[in-house]
């Protein structure tokens, strides 16, 4: 999804933070079991979803098919339509009513989203400071006041004409059935609907129109994007029954799969991009356009179906004629489309192979404002996404994959995505784009097309859990980005999230979408970092990729919940990950492992001739008492020095002198050892290893593996991986014994910054000063090559070197 400009502010619902009445409690002491199994917190496995995280033996989901006729009134910017819905009750329960989602009603002035939008976008009120309102907020308010928004519904009736009783509740509608719908029964009903299309720039929706006043056509042109544009069934599920939760803006959609036949009547000079296969190409496309599409199937680079020149021609004029485009889409959870006379259209076939969908057509639709940026990179990015994502999940299951440029920054639907980046018109009439804008375009296309897998096919519940689609998708778009060009910093690095995680204002990832205060770090970055760590640090790629693919294929065209993900990853990798889900997804702990102390142990040989000499050496190595040192400095001599003629036994023998008494007891000690004890002892003495004890404390609370780098006196380096389970009995502090032939010089915890440890200074022993960013910056005011203004410099003309006089 998109980061929405939420003038529709986050209504911070109070989520019940009260501790769940846990039947098992630590009632003495402070021990916290960070490895406590999650089962008791996860829903009980049942016949619909089992303990392995798989669809259960009686898994079911409803089937909802739509036949829709829609008509766009461009002048009035109004869409009207009628639809027939075929609802198949696959659940084992009888339904007395159906719930529908009326997403357009979010724009009504009395919608819950509007009425509960808080001034200040979710921050607590401040009574001392004057408040500010921006022009954007005012534009939003004015647009809502000037236009009648929301659905107008009519004619809601059964196939036989029986009128249906219905009740609208905000963005939802209950339809009461005259006769309850039993398991396995179907029902067909229809309705008319219409709404005024919102201006996306004014109200920030996930669809709407964008106006281009400067186009040659009188009054300019629009691009229309249609999403959440028809009343859709609320999902009815085994885990929540009707998933009715008011649409508040942040939490996106929970939807049913079904087959769609949609026809849209639009001005004849419009080009339509839509979910589904175009079934009447011969009626809406010219011969030439159809031939170009044919050619595109095997082309190496995208082929223009509508060229820029043709689009510019279309842009100038008007027509009274209208055309009807027909699309058919099977097994999709939603349906979206776009329409404009401004569209340039390019396409390129992608042979992905496999039995299910060997051929996919990748296509892009964009106005001239998209320019070269779109011509070069949009469709190619679509193909690249399919290549990478399919490897991690399953073959792309649809016949087309599209990227459409319009007013929406980035949003996904089955087979179609809306992507915002564009070129800039310069004063000289040229269109240019910065390197950053190029990255945004490629990045956003990968991200949104990636969403066609998650959640459009792996149909997670977005309204409840943003992270299930955004977190997984951000994780994968990082991988796809790196495979596009590793020079570009796409990925989510563990260190990117440390500032968020160490702060004291955040929620667990497992929080309902509308209650999350900052969706970016919470539902995108943190889960993506967590998955990266799981893959590259904890499980390794082989185990992770197998388990992840298992999750994707298990839930392809089905509806997974978080527990299905957690269970599958654990079950398919064979690794207990409950501590990981607890720490990263269920808590707000952060990672801060501190290496507090390293000390060396030496094994006593018990042989007095060796051990006593060692003690003597230790004593001699102690610094001289300051008193003695100062006396010497003053040139004071001692009595002993002045009277060297008076000596006795103790002048020759100190307290470390070995006598036969000690030698005898040593021999007795050896004689008293059991056979195995003597073997062990003698070997240990012979090997004469170094024994180091490392003391760690867990300051952040989140238990994690300890990644050690040991550097020895001979400059050799040893990496060591200690699994997180080391913390299981003492989650606050642990000691680890390290036995080595060598002498240890330095120890570093997590030297490559892989674990999101928020304080790396305490990862070093001996302590090392880690400069702050400012200190580092001052040290080497970067003479980086990136700093060159290449775009400007490249305009420099080649000059002949000046000849010497």
């Amino acid at each position: 999804m998109s980061y929405k400009k939420s003038c529709v502010a986050l209504a911070l619902m109070l989520c019940a933070q009260a501790s769940l009445a846990d039947p098992i409690a630590q009632t003495k002491g402070k021990f916290e079991d960070k490895f406590r199994q999650l089962d008791e917190s996860l829903p009980t496995p049942n016949i619909y979803r089992n303990a392995a995280g798989e669809p259960g033996q009686q898994y079911w989901q409803q089937q909802v098919d739509y036949k829709i006729k829609a008509s766009l009134d461009e002048e009035k910017r109004r869409l009207s339509g009628s639809q027939t819905i075929h609802y198949k009750n696959n659940s084992p329960y009888t339904l007395k009513y159906l719930w529908l989602q009326l997403d357009q009603n979010i724009f009504k002035p009395d919608s819950m989203a509007e009425v509960t939008s808080t001034f200040g976008g979710g921050s607590s009120p401040n009574n001392e400071m004057p408040a500010k309102i921006s022009l954007d907020e005012l534009r939003n308010l004015q647009f809502l006041a000037d236009h009648e928004l929301g659905y107008q519904l009519d004619n809601i009736k059964l196939a036989d004409g029986t009128k249906l009783k219905f009740v609208v509740v905000g963005t939802q509608m209950r339809i009461d059935l005259p006769k309850p719908l039993k398991p396995a029964e179907s029902l067909q009903f229809s309705m008319d609907f219409a709404f005024n299309i919102v201006e996306e720039d004014a109200v920030s929706a996930r669809s709407g129109f964008e106006h281009f006043p400067d186009d040659k056509r009188k009054g300019g042109n629009d691009i229309f994007l249609f999403a959440q544009w028809f009343p859709r069934l609320v999902a009815y599920t085994d885990y929540e029954a009707w998933t009715n939760k008011e649409f508040l803006g942040s939490g996106e959609f929970t939807l049913e799969f079904g087959d769609y036949e949609v026809e849209m009547t639009v001005p004849a000079d419009h080009i339509v991009s839509s979910t589904g296969d175009l079934t009447n190409a011969s009626e809406v496309l010219t011969k030439e356009q159809q031939q170009r599409l044919e050619k595109a199937k095997t082309a190496k680079r995208p082929v223009f179906i509508v060229t820029e020149q043709e689009a510019l021609e279309n842009e100038k004029d008007d027509t009274d004629e209208r055309k009807t485009w027909r699309f058919k889409a099977n097994n999709v959870r939603d349906f979206a489309w776009a329409s404009s006379r401004k569209f340039i259209w390019d396409a390129k076939g992608y042979q992905q192979g496999g039995a299910d969908q060997p051929f996919v057509m990748a296509m892009s639709f964009y106005p001239k404002e998209g320019g070269d940026l779109w011509k070069k990179y949009s469709t190619e990015s679509v193909v690249h996404t399919l290549e990478v994502y399919s490897r991690f999940s399953f073959d792309y299951p649809y016949s087309v994959a599209q990227s459409v440029n319009g007013p929406v920054g980035g949003m996904e639907y089955p087979m179609i995505t809306f992507n915002g980046p564009r070129t800039e018109l310069q004063k000289d009439g040229s269109r240019t784009y910065s390197q950053a804008e190029k990255r945004f375009l490629i990045g956003v296309v990968i991200h949104e097309v990636g969403h066609i897998y998650f959640p459009m096919v792996v149909n997670s519940d977005e309204r409840q859990w943003t992270w299930m689609d955004e977190g997984l998708n951000s994780f994968l778009d990082g991988i796809a980005g790196r495979e596009w060009d590793p020079q570009i910093p796409w990925g989510v690095e563990a260190r990117d999230i440390t500032d968020y995680m160490k702060g004291d204002q955040q929620e667990p990832i497992m929080t309902q979408s509308d209650s999350v205060t900052r969706l970016g770090p919470n539902a995108y970055t943190k889960p993506a970092v967590a998955l990266n760590i799981l893959r590259d640090v904890i499980l390794g790629r082989e185990l992770f990729d197998f388990a992840f693919k298992e999750y994707a294929t298990r839930w392809k065209f089905k509806r997974p919940t978080p527990s299905d993900f957690f269970r599958t990853m654990e079950e398919a990798s064979g690794v207990d990950l409950d501590w990981f889900w607890r720490g990263w997804f269920y808590s707000t702990d952060h990672v801060d492992i501190s290496l507090d102390k390293v000390y060396k142990l030496q094994l006593d040989t018990k042989d007095p001739d060796i051990d006593f000499e060692r003690r003597r050496k230790e004593e001699q190595d102690k610094p001289m008492p300051i008193f003695v040192e100062l006396n010497e400095a003053e040139g004071k001599t001692t009595w002993v020095e002045r009277n060297k003629d008076v000596t006795d036994f103790y002048d020759e023998n100190d307290r470390f002198t070995v006598t036969n008494k000690e030698r005898n007891s040593y021999q007795q000690f050896l004689a008293d050892l059991e056979h195995w004890e003597r073997q062990v002892f003698e070997r240990a003495i012979e090997e004469n290893k170094n024994y180091y004890v490392l003391n760690f404390s867990n300051l952040g609370g989140l238990v994690m593996p300890i990644l050690l780098q040991l550097t020895f006196e001979d400059d050799s380096v040893q990496e060591m991986y200690i699994p997180a389970e080391i913390w299981r009995k003492t989650p606050d502090a642990v000691s680890k014994l390290i036995v080595t032939d060598k002498t240890l010089k330095q120890v570093v915890v997590d030297p490559k910054w892989l674990t999101a440890d928020v304080d790396v200074e305490n990862n070093h022993y001996p302590r090392q000063i880690i400069p702050s960013r400012i200190e580092a910056f001052k040290r080497e005011k970067s003479k980086d090559l990136v700093e060159r203004d290449i775009m400007q410099d490249s305009k420099t003309k080649l000059k002949e070197p000046k000849a010497k006089d």
């Binding site: 999804m1 980061y3 720039d201 400007q792």
Partner: protein, 161 residues
């Protein structure tokens, strides 16, 4: 509450899925240097789209040092520290592009006997009402987090030692 109208001309908002519309700032009491170090981290996405509005369409954070400097200057004028109502004059140390992030650095010597701090950070909020600037205060006890929205202008924290 008084209502102040922010007058900004010709704003047409282009939103990208990857615009985070949030920045995070570390205010670090660095005992080594004796300075309060302020390190602002912006997503390149946000910053790039912001400079095109704040400066002009040819602004380019990756390609132009001048754009980076202008944006750093902009940020430095939208972040303020006060102690007991007294402005702490931050100097602008520099800026840096690092991967997906753009950093702006400021600093000021740690004043004597500082027990509380008032902060304000309203960068980009006149462009985007949904911009949230988060500030972590570190190096004086537990990390303390403040969240600045357009309606949260000044906030105060008590400092531990």
């Amino acid at each position: 509450m008084r209502l102040i109208l922010l007058v900004l001309c010709c704003l047409s908002l282009q939103l990208s899925a990857h615009e985070m519309k949030s920045a995070i700032t570390k205010v670090l009491f660095n005992q080594r240097t004796g300075n309060i170090e302020v390190m602002h981290r912006f997503y390149l996405h946000d910053a790039e789209h912001a400079v095109k509005k704040l400066l002009d369409k040819s602004a380019d954070l990756i390609a132009k040092q001048s754009t980076r400097d202008s944006f750093a200057l902009y940020v430095s004028s939208h972040f303020q520290l006060k102690s007991d109502g007294q402005d702490l004059k931050l100097s602008l140390v520099g800026n840096e592009l690092d991967g997906r992030f753009f950093w702006v650095y400021q600093e000021v010597a740690i004043p004597h006997q500082l027990t509380q701090l008032q902060l304000r950070h309203n960068s980009l909020q006149s462009l985007w009402p949904e911009q949230v600037n988060v500030v972590n205060i570190e190096g004086r006890g537990k990390v303390k987090t403040l969240k600045f929205t357009p309606q949260q202008q000044w906030q105060q924290v008590q400092l531990s030692n």
